[in-house]
Amino acid sequence: MQYLNARPLYEGLDREPASARVRLDLALPSEVARRIAEDEADVALMPVAAAATIGDLRIARGMAIGARGRVRSVVLVADRPLEQIEELALDLSSRTSVILARLVMRARRGGKEPRLIGCSSADAIASVGGVRGALVIGDPALALEGRFPHVVDLGEAWMQETGLPFVFAAWCGRPGALSPQDESLLLEAKTHGLARRDAIAADHAERIGRPVESIRSYLHDAIQYELGDDEHRGLERFFDEASRAGLLPKTRVRFFDDDAPHSAPAARRESPSLDKLLARASEGERLSAAEGERLLADAGLFDLGLASDAVRRRKHPHDVVTYIVDRNVNYTNVCTTSCRFCAFYRPVGHAEGYVLTRDQLRAKLQPVVDAGGVQILLQGGLNPDLPIGWYEDLFRWIKSEFKLGLHALSPEEILHIARQESLTVAKVLERLHEAGLDSVPGGGAEILVDRVRRKIAKAKCTSDEWLGVMRVAHQMGLRSSATMMYGTVDTARDRMNHLVKLRDLQDETSGFTAFFCWDFQFEKGTTLTPGDNGTMLYLRQQAVARLMLDNIDHVGASWVTQGPEIGQVALRFGADDFGSVMFEENVVSSAGTTFGMNADSMETRIRAAGFKAVRRNVRYDWLNEPA
């Protein structure tokens, strides 16, 4: 369905001469962007917001999906005038349209936006009424024509605000991905496709059961397939306004042929200087994945440190570093995933496999209560012998016996329980929440790029599954942390894509409290060779993460993996949290990294680094006065 307005651009690609050269795939818009971000495709017809987020892409001239005024398929609908809307329901993953909607609302309502309610497109439409409106995109928007008394067509609104056309999508790729010859193949396909619009309309109308004339005029009159000077200016204007609103990285439109040696100097814009990029980063502007990659590769250690420290200070102006008194309890080491970086797990049936008994748990939890601890971090392997009832009983027992927060079960474990019990993730989380689950730890994220995950943890969930569990948890009001384990087979680009995926989800849910990263801890017993890690890279990586993750409040220094010394230095590289006091932690220590720190020692280090120390809970509330 969502392919209708793209068909005139791509349908000609299966004919000679293009078909001999082009291998065409169709996919959902988010997947299209992912394939460019992760270098799995050369060129994609991509929503422009996704292109800005990846950064440093080039656009093919002369072709786009846009509108000069009314577009019909991207509309705000409501029962009352836009000015009176207080809530807007929408599918937050359609980023280009969401950003357009937000800009239009800000422009028309004196800078004020309604509250955004993320949900599925169908739920959004169903929930319209009273002070709630909805953003509707694609076929449903055409189908709804005439149904709501108040409709704002966003193509038309953009034209009224700016006097310019709007560009929704264009052919994009990395610099050099599209030669002039290839570009002309795309243009020929477009010529062919535009001539076939009536046939496409007839086919589509039959498929969705709508009057053919409505579809025909949509393809002929509403959607504009040109990308000329006006569209160029419209796109520049959109990028400009979106970046000033903090919704997109600062982006300039650059075409594939801008890189050609013969092109005019004005067109061949040099990339901005590293100093300017650093200045923007320390101002807290949103960065693209490409900009993050550049900072990680080229910026000086001190520049990264100072920029991330500036961001940290703006977000947390009290010069306070928090820490938590909790205990990491690994309830079982039996696991079916056999990750290559893990020295902790034992396969099912192994003599060293264990599941902690209540007595063993009591012996671990009572000292936490006695030491003034506030929670336990409960994680384990994917043990096929433990049904969901076991977890529910355990959570209820912990909650009734100890006054401790339950930060438990990473997405991988939740998915495992869902699969094992044939329940949805939402149902599993609902039951566990009911039994006492307070928040979800962000472990197991590793690198959220499937090419990397397949190499280091074949049996683990995909990136989308991991993010999907977090999305559901956040929508239920559970908070979670986010993590990154790098330094195996990942590249700098993979790491930046990972950070952008976390940032995108955070835009939707605001459910992540904090981010922690660490490098792969090598030890005998793991079958993976570490990449080029090292302490220097850790500090750089953490600083860049602080700069990229503009919508996540807290960044923690991982002293458990880096050692107390480097953990302390990392507080000056963008971190505002020092993690937890160590009672025990089995997974990292079985990989040979063993450090210990008690509360006194943590506070001493926090103060020596020039901060005040405060204890926190899992929601990062302060539990005492800074000292």
């Binding site: 291998r23 795939d25 169709l26 990395r174 001190f302 990449g531 080029d532 890279l537 010394e565 020596a608």
Partner: protein, 386 residues
């Protein structure tokens, strides 16, 4: 103009910093700003070059008449539990065992043993040179030289001339601790005073014997004491130019007379390296001694003013007696990697900073993180949605 701005101006103009500047650098809240300034000076002097060597450490005796509060190594008498003095053959065998991959330097530091004849030390040196004639003998701190002079009834010059004839090449920098009497009388009252330490170095320099110097920080001293210490060394260096490297040594509290004190933290370690680079404008090298700092902190130190990371070491016992968590030795390749990961160029040196081998400026880790150029594919992979 802030204090740091005025210091920054002086640094750009290559002007000398004052006592007050030094204290201000220690007290300035922004660690990274101080580090960046030291890095600027370090890169002006050495670019990315970072020195290390193949060395081995030997402590032939831990019997010591001095009773320094910070020491976990010394045993007062020959028959105290844990006291040990190597026979000459034992000491020499340490080098003999390593002749398949020999060090360029043997670094010997000892307790002040009251019962050995002076000839023991002369024979010790001669024996090492017999095993490997071109090995550099960096032996005996100024405190030991002072002790020899008193104990065997000689002048500093007589001691040094005799030892040089036996094979001594240069002096290590240990025993400096903190020069200021307010501290020195409390932590090491019964060994060479500050003036005596400095005089040994002065005489050595006059004889053409190079030395290093150190400072033991992070115990009971103040920032003023640290700055005073560095400026005394700077004055001596103006006079003699015989000092090669300055090595700040972090106090480790386990098992000694100050075990109730916390050890200095990494932030203090890095700042001390940075301030020493900025104050000691006439000392060529600042060393991030990895045994004292841990390899990780030493690596970061290479961006905070240090241009040297010491050597392979092999078997260190003094810091390890005080609870150091560093490994006892690092392999040659591990040191090269440590330096490269900091984005620096590893340069193997001998003790006198002659280049033995300069490694390729392999800008790890950054270069390795860049994505390789895409391969030209036969097909153009195109994906559409929208």
């Amino acid at each position: 103009m802030s204090v740091l701005d005025s210091i920054r101006d002086k640094v750009s103009a290559k002007e000398r910093l004052t006592f007050d500047d030094g204290v201000a650098l220690f007290r300035h809240p922004d660690l990274l700003a101080v580090g960046a300034l030291a890095n600027e000076v370090r890169e002006r002097m050495h670019g990315d070059r970072t020195y290390f060597n193949r060395n081995m450490r030997i402590e032939v005796t831990n019997v010591c008449v001095a009773s320094c509060l910070f020491c976990s190594f010394a045993k007062l008498e020959e028959h105290s539990p844990g006291a040990h003095t190597m026979s000459l053959a034992e000491a020499w065998s340490e080098l003999e065992q390593r002749m398949d991959d020999p060090p360029t330097e043997v670094h010997i530091v000892n307790g002040l043993h009251p019962g050995l004849p002076f000839s023991y030390y002369e024979e010790l040196l001669t024996g090492f040179k017999r095993i490997k004639p071109d090995v550099h003998m960096k032996c005996f701190t100024a405190v030991e030289i002072h002790f020899f002079a008193r104990h065997y009834g000689m002048t500093y010059e007589e001691v040094l001339v005799k030892l040089r004839a036996a094979g001594l090449d240069s002096l290590p920098g240990g025993g400096a601790e903190i020069f200021h009497p307010e501290v020195r009388t409390r932590i090491s009252h019964d060994k060479a005073t500050a003036d005596e330490y400095l005089e040994v170095h002065r005489v050595a320099h006059r004889l053409g014997i190079r030395t290093n110097s150190t400072m033991l920080y992070g115990h009971i001293e103040t920032f003023e004491h640290r700055v005073d210490h560095m400026l005394r060394l700077r004055d001596l260096q103006d006079e003699t130019h015989g000092m090669q490297a300055f090595i700040p040594l972090a106090f480790h509290p386990d098992g000694n007379g100050m075990k109730n004190l916390p050890a200095p933290t990494a932030v203090d370690d890095l700042r001390t390296l940075a301030v020493s680079r900025l104050l000691l404008d006439n000392v060529p090298h600042i060393k991030a001694y990895w045994v004292s700092l841990t390899p990780d902190v030493a690596q970061i130190g290479l961006r905070f003013g240090a241009d040297d990371i010491d050597g392979t070491i092999v078997h260190e016992t003094i810091y390890h007696a005080a609870g150091s968590s560093s490994p006892q030795g690092l392999t040659y390749d591990a040191l090269v990697r440590l330096i490269r990961e900091a984005g620096r160029v590893p340069v193997e040196r001998d003790t006198l900073y002659n280049v033995v081998r300069e490694h390729a400026p392999n800008a790890l880790p950054e270069a390795a993180m860049k994505v390789k150029d895409r391969k030209a594919a036969r097909h153009l992979a195109v994906v559409s949605g929208s």
